[in-house]
């Protein structure tokens, strides 16, 4: 168990090695990254075995990193069921995707750098997951953001990619500020960064303060997990290479926010107001994501908004009080979405297209890709017995279980979202792989082995992970119980399950009707409801709102500051001082008349002045 720190450490080491000497190694050092992540995966199995042997619980170990004043900042890990699950998920998906990248990024000039940043990212993400104190978590959190920035902007020669990377970084920064303030607030109140310490003292803090702190922490989660209104960076992040989208923006980094809330849940539990906020934000995000995914024409963007929607679902589950449901959905979504992205990547590699309107019938040329994509899509739509079905069900159950007035209303909206999800997934699937194979796409080819195997693995995962939810005798206690203890094992509510399956089927059927059978024309619908259509196509004008804010507020303010800087600091302070010296020198030099009698007069006047000063002023002052 104590070896768990190897997981992040190996990856950081790989990053360092590749950066320093990658060029000289075969394959630019990519294999180092893969070795490191495989090592992390191995650590996971070792830890899992250890866990199952000793029984679930929390294992922690820490070492003092530095002392500042009388504050002791440790570097330590905590390994509890939550961390273990995340460890396994992150290492497995990262491993699979790095292997896939060997094929996808082949021929890329900065091949080695790509893998180096992958290793950096993996190390940072694992550090976030294993961290036992808030400061370490924050540092790793920022490193994750850095990795994301570097990878989104990997092809920085493209203007749009550089802009997207900047947008991602800046938007998540907004959230990170909240997180930092929240951490500092907690530190000030409890005197420690250690999670265990903070939780222990949390009961004594006032609800108001806790609400504030948790809201701030949630702000950080909102940034990384693309919750409304900080979701705008995720679709643009598709400028990065597709495996990057699969790893970072589907399965791991965006999950960091969900993980953060889960990790800090003891605090959130004590601040019910925050939980309501979390749930509502999650719901809104889920709705926005689902509606926008319907109108996007770029395949990756459809998947991006789908991610946004599902992240909203996870937050909603957390708001409803169930860590198990949220994390389970996180896992199922990770497998399914990564699979979908890899499929999209395969399409881009094979057919060199990204616009769904230019695709169709690709299953004839890339059957494996089509099949995997279908598995992912169906899973995410919630078809049994795939994993997405189980996880969505648990989310619905959690919401139902909350009772009260708000949550049942949410449930209705949720079912609507399930319907929409099935619809847009069907759209994506059918438009891309079914229908007529266009002339220009005849050359499309299937993915190579190194890309196909990871997809297959993920497909198996997407299909099978769902069953982890259930108890299997004495072998596995079931996911819920594993995470939260006996009382939280998964249950099934037949009515709800029926409703969700019906919604999924309905959505899928509608999709089939519209996009395969062409029973309705989406174009005519768009024309009839043009206002709605425009609203969606412009992404609810959120980006426009941001731009307005930046232009009117931020830039105006910075213009003011620039003016101040130019006038006061530069002209006044810097140039002014120099000019004053120069001008006074110009004036004062006339004192040097060269005529001795002037100087003599000066002496006399000086003597008189000193005498007067001595006799008249000094006695008064002293």
């Amino acid at each position: 168990m104590e070896w768990a720190w190897l997981a992040p450490a190996l990856n950081f080491a790989a990053f360092g090695l590749i950066v320093l000497g990658g060029r000289r190694l075969p394959g630019q050092g990519a294999f180092l990254a893969i070795l490191a992540i495989a090592g992390a995966f191995g650590v996971f199995w070792y830890a899992l075995a250890d866990f199952l042997g000793r029984g679930t619980g929390t294992y922690a170990f820490s070492v003092t990193w530095f002392k500042a004043g009388n504050v002791d900042v440790p570097w330590g890990m905590v390994l509890d069921p939550l961390a273990l699950v995340m460890l396994g998920l992150v290492s497995f998906i990262a491993l699979v995707i790095q292997v896939y990248s060997l094929g996808y990024m082949a021929g890329e000039e900065r091949f080695g750098w790509y893998f180096a940043v992958h290793a950096l990212f993996a190390g940072a993400m694992l550090a976030v997951v294993l961290a036992d104190n808030l400061l370490l978590l924050y540092v790793a959190w920022e490193l994750v953001g850095l990795g994301s920035y570097l990878l989104i902007g990997f092809w920085y020669e493209r203007r749009s990619a550089a802009e997207a990377a900047k947008k991602a970084f800046v938007t998540t920064r907004l959230g990170d500020v909240g997180l930092l303030i929240g951490i500092l607030l907690l530190f000030k109140l409890t005197g420690t960064f250690q999670l265990s310490g903070v939780f222990a003292q949390a009961r004594e803090l006032s609800t108001g303060v806790l609400t504030a702190a948790t809201l701030l922490i949630f702000l950080g989660a909102m940034g990384k997990s693309a919750q409304f209104p900080l979701h705008v960076w995720l679709p643009d992040a598709m400028e990065g290479p597709t495996p990057v989208s699969a790893l970072i923006h589907a399965a791991t980094m965006v999950a960091a926010g969900v993980y953060l809330v889960a990790r800090a849940f003891p605090l959130f539990e004590l601040a019910p107001a925050t939980l309501v906020v979390v749930a509502l934000v999650g719901l809104v995000t889920a709705g926005i994501g689902a509606t926008l995914a319907l109108v996007m024409t770029d395949l990756k963007r459809v998947l991006a908004y789908s991610t946004v929607s599902n992240l909203g679902l996870m937050m909603l589950a957390l708001g409803a009080g169930s860590i198990a449901a949220a994390i389970f959905h996180l896992v199922a979504h990770a497998f399914s979405k990564a699979l979908l992205f890899l499929g999209a990547g395969s399409v881009m590699h094979g057919a060199e297209r990204t616009d769904v309107r230019e695709m169709g019938g690709l299953r004839l040329r890339m059957p494996l890709t089509a099949f995997s994509f279908a598995v992912g899509a169906l899973s995410l739509a919630g078809f049994p017995p795939l994993s997405g079905f189980f996880s969505k069900d648990e989310v619905l159950l959690a919401v139902l279980g909350k009772g009260g007035v708000v949550f049942p209303a949410i449930l209705v909206v949720l079912l609507g979202i399930v319907f929409l999800s099935a619809l847009y997934l069907a759209r994506a699937l059918l438009l891309t792989f079914w229908g007529e194979l266009k002339e220009e796409n005849r050359h499309a080819h299937e993915a190579a082995g190194v890309m196909a195997v990871p997809m297959a693995l993920l497909a198996v995962g997407a299909a099978a992970v769902g069953f982890l939810a259930l108890r299997v005798g004495s072998l596995s206690p079931g996911f819920g119980a594993f995470l939260e203890g006996e009382g939280h094992a998964f249950r099934i509510n037949p009515a709800l399950t029926l409703a969700s399956v019906a919604a999924a089927l309905g959505g899928f059927a509608l999709g089939y009707a519209v996009y395969q059978r062409h029973l309705f024309s989406p174009q005519r619908l768009a024309q009839r409801y043009s206002f709605l259509h425009r609203l969606l196509v412009n992404k609810y004008y959120v980006d426009h709102a941001y731009q307005w804010g930046i232009d009117r507020v931020v830039l105006a303010f910075s213009r003011g500051v620039a003016l101040f800087d130019r006038l006061v600091v530069n002209d006044g302070g810097v140039n002014g001082t120099a000019d004053t010296v120069r001008v006074s020198g110009l004036r004062l030099r006339y004192l040097q008349s060269g005529l001795v009698y002037n100087y003599a007069l000066g002496i006399v006047v000086g003597v008189v002045a000193v005498a007067l000063f001595w006799w008249l002023v000094i006695p008064r002052v002293l």
């Binding site: 009698y597 002037n598 007069l601 006399v604 006047v605 003597v607 008189v608 005498a611 007067l612 006799w615």
Partner: protein
Amino acid sequence: MTPSLFLFYAASALTLGGGMGVVATRNVVYAALSLLASLMGVAGIYLVLFAEFLALVQVLIYGGAIVIVVLFALMLTRLRELGGPMEHRQWPLALVGALGLFAVLAAAIARTGVPQGLERMGPPVAKVGASLFSQWAVPFEAASVLLLVALIGAIVLARPGGRD
């Protein structure tokens, strides 16, 4: 008004009057002669103060030597172009400065209490002479060397020749 007081005032008037003549007149020769008058006045003061030897020295050296030299110098530097003003443009300020200094000095004098009274005493000439050759012998010799040096220097400097 004792005789000595009267003599003192007379000598002071001559001294100060001559002094003002030095600094005010337009004619340079008049200025030199005013200086002579002033210095004679000073000699008178010395007499009142029982410094007969010094009065003698004063008359001899100043009147007999220095003023003569100055007159020679004035002749040699006869200035044709001296039609202009005799004072600088800063003379008002100079006046103010000088008056100010006088005020300061007068105030200082007023504040200091010093013993009064002039004793009738014997001629101090012998005493002065004695101390000049015993206690002040070294400065005395140094002064002679100084004079020698000044003499030689003056000759060197005033030599006619090309070097400037």
